[in-house]
Symmetry: C2
Subunit: 324 residues, 2 copies
């Protein structure tokens, strides 16, 4: 079993790499080779019995994707992409990385004769755009309101069409907001969802820029890795022609996030959260999707945490006391 992972140097890529090495098998077969691709070199963890290669480059370059799949990986995790804010700020780069790179990879697979790998694509709930109902069903129309969401949706459509035509066996995983993200605070509008948990657990102050009533859906990095693993394992026939699945998550208000922090880490942690309304952040966040039904994904066995308490505990187990 050879595995190719794009975007392997990112947070989810690193965690997925660790999980693959720890499990040692995928789809019932021993993992013998793992190709880690990104624009910068991914970390190469110690993995006895697995030949790890670190590959770098721009997948949208002519011939780059062909090289990546030259050894016919059995499973491809396609995680490469630039984030929403960057795709909005740099129009050309967003289309190049998030769409052209994906298309180059899919086309390389298509043109490789007799080759039909499982390709797990990290997509996003940003393929949806408001106005939203209270609970967003699986068959809600996709009307993205960002270039990022547009690029990911176009990639999803290719994935579906290429799968229908038999060129590959694609599964798209629409990830909710990943929380608690480890590491330093960033400037993403969604950053506070993680910050109000992560910073207090490190004894540092966190700013809450939106009302406590904001409802949003979260899954831990651990759950996200689980979604991708299950996306690699799942029987494609059970998924049917609609290959992109909205993942489940924990839908909570910011107030409920804070109550979970209180239960897990105590009042002293909660006291480190300072409310400081930020109209710019609120202007973005108030238009975001709140709660997803994720019926198909649940029926297909994708599992998120059952409560935000679990998400906080997962973060403490996986991150606190370790180096980011």
């Amino acid at each position: 079993m050879r595995i190719l992972m794009t975007g392997a140097a990112g947070m989810i890529g690193r965690k997925l790499t660790s999980r693959l090495i720890k499990d040692g098998t995928l789809r019932g077969r021993k993992i013998t080779a793992l190709d880690l691709h990104d624009i910068v070199p991914a970390q190469t963890p110690d993995a006895p019995g697995i030949a790890i290669r670190t590959l770098t480059g721009d997948m949208a370059d002519a011939g780059a994707a062909e090289k990546l799949i030259a050894d016919r990986p059995d499973v491809i995790f396609h995680l490469a992409g630039i984030v929403s804010g960057e795709a909005e700020a740099n129009f050309d780069l967003g289309y190049r990385v998030n769409f052209d790179g994906t298309r180059a990879l899919l086309d390389a697979v298509r043109l490789a004769e007799g080759y039909q790998p499982r390709l797990v694509f990290a997509s996003t709930i940003a393929v949806y755009g408001g106005p939203f109902p209270d609970v967003i069903p699986d068959d809600f129309q996709q009307a993205p309101l960002s270039s990022y969401g547009t690029q990911k949706l176009m990639s999803e459509l290719l994935l579906t069409d290429f799968t229908r035509r038999g060129f590959l066996d694609g599964i798209g995983i629409r990830l909710p907001t990943i929380c608690v993200r480890p590491g330093k605070p960033n400037k993403a509008a969604s950053g506070f969802f993680s910050g109000i948990i992560r910073e207090p657990l490190a004894g540092q102050e966190a700013i809450l820029p939106v009302p406590r009533t904001v409802l949003h859906t979260h899954a831990s990095p651990r759950a996200a890795v689980g979604f991708l693993m299950h996306g690699a394992e799942i029987d494609g026939a059970k998924v049917g022609p609609r290959r992109n699945l909205t993942m489940p998550g924990v839908a909570v208000t910011v107030g409920e996030q804070i109550e979970a922090l209180r239960r897990v880490a105590g009042e002293d942690a909660v006291k480190l959260i300072r409310e400081e309304h930020d109209e710019a952040v609120w202007g973005i966040v108030k238009n975001w999707a709140t709660r997803f039904e994720a019926k198909r994904a649940k029926e297909l066995g994708f599992k998120a945490e059952a409560s935000f308490d679990e998400i906080v505990k997962a973060y403490i187990e996986d991150e606190v006391g370790r180096s980011a």
Copy 2:
């Protein structure tokens, strides 16, 4: 007012050209120049006062789209595309013409500084895929089941994102099945919808390969031209951020089509329809969309025929006795 039309040599392109010349104005301004582009030369009708240019080439070629918009047309009708069956049979050609060509055109407009034309894009109800409800609402999810539908939907998404970003002012027109198509019978699975009207009106036998209970939505070529014209005229602010509109049409069963033919052309015409079940055609047609709500388009003033009788009469007025 300079107008650029791609796909100008096609049936709708020719009719739209005639309409533009007949009207002489668009968006309240006199039409002074009309650039007709296609892979083969479009007909150049007589049009005093309008400078007509015939342009040929592959819009997906490097630099081709830039040349097309060099004179900054005020309105662009982007009709170019290959049909569903061809896009399914020739995968590369379908993506090249239906998607890459559209993207090249949109990118050329985007990169032309200080230029923001109205761009009317001929899309299709094939952006939808079943299973369908009895009446398909405007916010029904887009899940195409063909490469053609995928390519058109990806183009729609670009149109929306480019409009949101202010690069152009796009309106996508999702056309229903165009009926009655003039000319010779073709091998499209939908061909019989037109054939059972067109052939009897010419005194020729027509084959009906599906049950009379098949329900489908139609608009005449005349109505399609009207949709495109209104798409050029309409106030973009009224359309809002969702720029692709499902057009109205006449939803009738095949049996009701035949009754309309009887009322308009008499029993002798109807006798020329021979029922001969074709399992292959039925296998395709039975999965097609039946009836669209088209609420937004109707509210925005897009008008289809009110009955299939009108569609038959429009065909007779526009086509019978003329050369196809």
